[in-house]
Amino acid sequence: MPIIRNLLAIAVATTLLAGCTGGAGDDSTGPADFAGDITGEITVLTNRTDLATTTLPEYARKFTAEHPGTKVSFEPVTDYEGDVTTQLSSGDYGDVLLVPNTVPVDQLAQFFEPLGSVEELRPKYRFIDEKAYGGQVYGLSIGGVAQGMVVNKRVWAQAGVTAPPKTPEEFLTGLRAIKSKTGAVPYYTNYKDGWPLSFFNSQRAIVNDPQINEKFPADPSPWQPGKIQYTTDGLLFDIVHQGLSEKDPLTTNWEGSKPMIATGKVATMVLGSWAVPQLRDAAKAAGANPDDIAFWPFPVQTGGRFHSRIEGDYKAGVSKNSKNKATAKAWLDFFVNESGFAQDQQAIPPATGQPLPPALQAFQDTGVDLMEIPAATTNAGREDQIIKESEIDLAGNIYRQKLVDIARGAAKGDKESYFADLNGRWGKAQAAVMK
């Protein structure tokens, strides 16, 4: 019963964070200087532990062939967000790295070199404003994803549905048909692992309003009927409330859910398009047909069209403390434009003008408008502050797990009371942040 150890773990972790905040560079936001010879060694941090000794070194060999005298080494990090956030405050975090999402946009300049202005880079790259602040870009996307849901087409077809449902009601009817006509679990929440629940937050495109990120923090009650959180979180509530999800959400397992949807034991999961290649691999491994896995839009239409948000997955930047910024920048440019990483991962290529991967081409052909939603500018960073202040983790799973608990009758309340509670807590924090 190591009480003291627990307290110290927190204390030590916070000390690590505190210890060297001095390591972060100054706040100046002048244009970066990437002049110098492209030569010497650089270190690249990556979250792809599975590729660090296989595919990534191959890209590095290509880069070295173009720029003799350079050497790129990779440092794979398993718990990327957590570990790298701690590393950031130590001042030593490699030369090129993926920008952890824990860094608020207004602090980007402390840790990363500006790569150019938004106006200058917009014609060349997609997703540039996702890690931008004050008109400067600090991270380039290494590949984009579209948002929607992954389905097992064969199971849906058995239930008589062959085209993506257009409304939440149509979708729920489909799920009910799956439940009654097939043995499959209609929807799998992945409640225990938690993070798959957060994809209900990635559906803002459905209202077809490019300004939504700007408007969102200005709204004190996003869970009011007709508003975005009511639509998306409300759908999750209805799925669970009508008994259309897995029986015991507490023992779910992401790795285990992959073969389940691949073989048709599960019919639907709300996820990003990045999941499609993984689930097709799982289908191959399980001896099922990989073509059963399809990507459908979130079941809401605006103006008679589906809209799916496309966004950059991780954005890579150059460390402010890099000793070899010229080579670091050259590697970043190479990796984003020439390496072929995005194509290999079936992601949306970050450079504009390169073609979409086949899976997304098919998705677009079902009548979906792919749209980028610019990050907030005048309200930049405000949404994060409200999230922290209210402790409603909009981009996470804690409050959605509670939502699932209420929906399945495991916690007190109903949809109206919980949404009223969320509106109240959000509104209070919103008033404090936006005052």
Partner: protein, 286 residues
């Protein structure tokens, strides 16, 4: 070199480690608890007592303390089971070391491993349901999915893991009692229960007292088992899980530090009260 200096020389390595890794971080934590800070920003803003006011007044924070009650109740079971086995194994000679090993083994396992093992045990139709099926109790139970059972399941896991520790403490204490006392008692006609009641129980009173302090502080600071098994979902969120989320998910390091300080003070307070109620007297059996 004088004698006093030599003392300090020997103490220096231990003190250096203690100060660097215990007192400085705790001092830092107290310092953070009076500030608003996200763990990254080079500047902290003062918050006065604001963090403490929020921890102590917001119902969201107080409610998680109730979850500790399950673990506290379970720790009585844990102490009783451990005491029983310690006494039995004191008198039982055959296969004693084997049973000692079996009972202590769960404590040696890593808490994360224990979490995963029990996660499979508790799956609907998993090991536990299968075993219960052999005993005639049929049906799939949502051991973790049912909010009325989840905390019992987790507290049970905690008992399984920590009984070994209490057991070893008790066994060590019982073995320090001179064996001739039992012989003398037997000549006087005392049975096993009398021996336990009048020799063993008073002889190990300090260890039992210590076990209760550990039980209280342990049940307030439960973390690994619920964190691995449910992530704090389904009404199993404990105070430390909440503090962890506040610090590393919502990045409110100041507020989380205030929570940790409150927990520390609470444990110190309970220990102090316990020492006042049960004073720590020297035990003499002869």
């Amino acid at each position: 070199m004088t004698k006093a200096r030599t003392h300090w020389l020997y103490l220096a390595p231990a003190l250096a480690l203690l100060i660097t890794f215990t007192y400085v971080p705790v001092a830092n934590m107290v310092w953070y608890s009076f500030h608003k800070w996200d763990g990254l920003s080079p500047t902290m803003t003062g918050a006065g007592l604001g963090n403490y006011v929020r921890v102590l007044t917001d119902e969201e924070y107080r409610r998680v303390f109730l979850v500790s009650l399950y673990y506290f109740a379970a720790s009585f079971l844990q102490i009783a089971v451990a005491l029983y086995f310690a006494v039995v194994l004191t008198f039982q000679r055959r296969l004693r070391n084997l049973f000692k090993g079996i009972l202590f083994f769960p404590y040696l396992l890593n808490g994360v491993a224990v979490g995963f093992v029990f996660l499979y045990l508790f799956q609907p139709g998993g090991t536990l349901d299968t075993v219960l099926g052999f005993l005639g109790v049929s049906g799939d139970h949502l051991w973790l999915g049912d909010p009325d059972i989840a905390n019992y399941s987790l507290a049970g896991t905690s008992v399984w893991r920590f009984t070994g520790l209490s057991f070893v403490l008790f066994l060590g204490a019982i073995q320090s009692i001179p064996p001739d006392l039992y012989e003398a008692a037997e000549i006087d006609g005392a049975n096993r229960w009398h021996q336990f009641r009048f020799i063993i129980a008073p002889g190990i009173r300090r260890i039992i007292g210590l076990s209760f302090i550990l039980a209280i502080s342990g049940s307030l600071s439960v973390f690994e088992i619920p964190f691995i098994m449910t992530g704090g979902a389904n009404g199993t969120r404990t105070f430390v899980i909440r503090a962890y989320e506040t610090a590393f998910q919502f990045r409110q390091i100041g507020l989380a530090s205030a929570m940790a300080v409150v927990l520390l003070l609470l444990v110190l307070l309970i220990t102090w009260v316990q020492r006042r109620i049960v004073p720590d007297e020297e035990v003499t059996l002869s």
